[in-house]
Amino acid sequence: GAGVSQTPSNKVTEKGKYVELRCDPISGHTALYWYRQSLGQGPEFLIYFQGTGAADDSGLPNDRFFAVRPEGSVSTLKIQRTERGDSAVYLCASSSQAGPNYGYTFGSGTRLTVV
């Protein structure tokens, strides 16, 4: 597509529920990143995919968070047993080359609210 698409744009869920956030990167972009951003803060790295594999998942805060990219394009970030502290804007970005030597194109984000 023309840009990075994220769905849903907003998600409100109850504490303890499971959520999935979807990212559709720019066609042909091999590198895909998930970040989350809290109000007044810069984006916080979660995970980086190169193709289908997670090249760096060191930013995932705990084992409730998991992400996949089975065919090397669309990615899904999965959060189990959501907690109120998970509330944030989850941003997906892609770039045409591996690694952050190139500028990212971000999607509009999914605003997750855990109540």
Binding site: D56, G99, N101, Y104
Partner: protein
């Protein structure tokens, strides 16, 4: 671990005044990128600096990378209302970008 500190947190200017934000890293950076985020929007890539002492310009925006590759600055000349937003620097660590906390540019009414 590696941190990128960005100051100031906010800067209030009159339209037409200049604006500057500074980033400092605790370690040498391979490169540094700058992004702009409008209120309610997502970060938009502005530029990447790679070389020691590099200076790049985009119209009224001037970006600098320090000689030691540990600091960087963004200077906007004669701000306009369209410049409003938060400006982030982000330095490379392996495959990650380590982000500053951003400087919010506010135009006084």
């Amino acid at each position: 671990g590696q941190q990128v500190m960005q100051i100031p947190q906010y800067q209030h200017v009159q339209e037409g005044e200049d604006f500057t934000t500074y980033c400092n890293s605790s370690t040498t950076l391979s490169n540094i990128q700058w992004y702009k985020q409008r209120p309610g929007g997502h970060p938009v890539f502005l530029i990447q600096l790679v070389k020691s002492g590099e200076v790049k310009k985009q119209k009224r925006l001037t970006f600098q990378f320090g000689e030691a590759k540990k600091n960087s600055s963004l200077h906007i000349t004669a701000t306009q209302t369209t410049d409003v937003g938060t400006y982030f620097c982000a330095g490379r660590r392996n495959y990650q970008l380590i982000w500053g906390a951003g400087t919010k540019l506010i135009i006084k009414p």
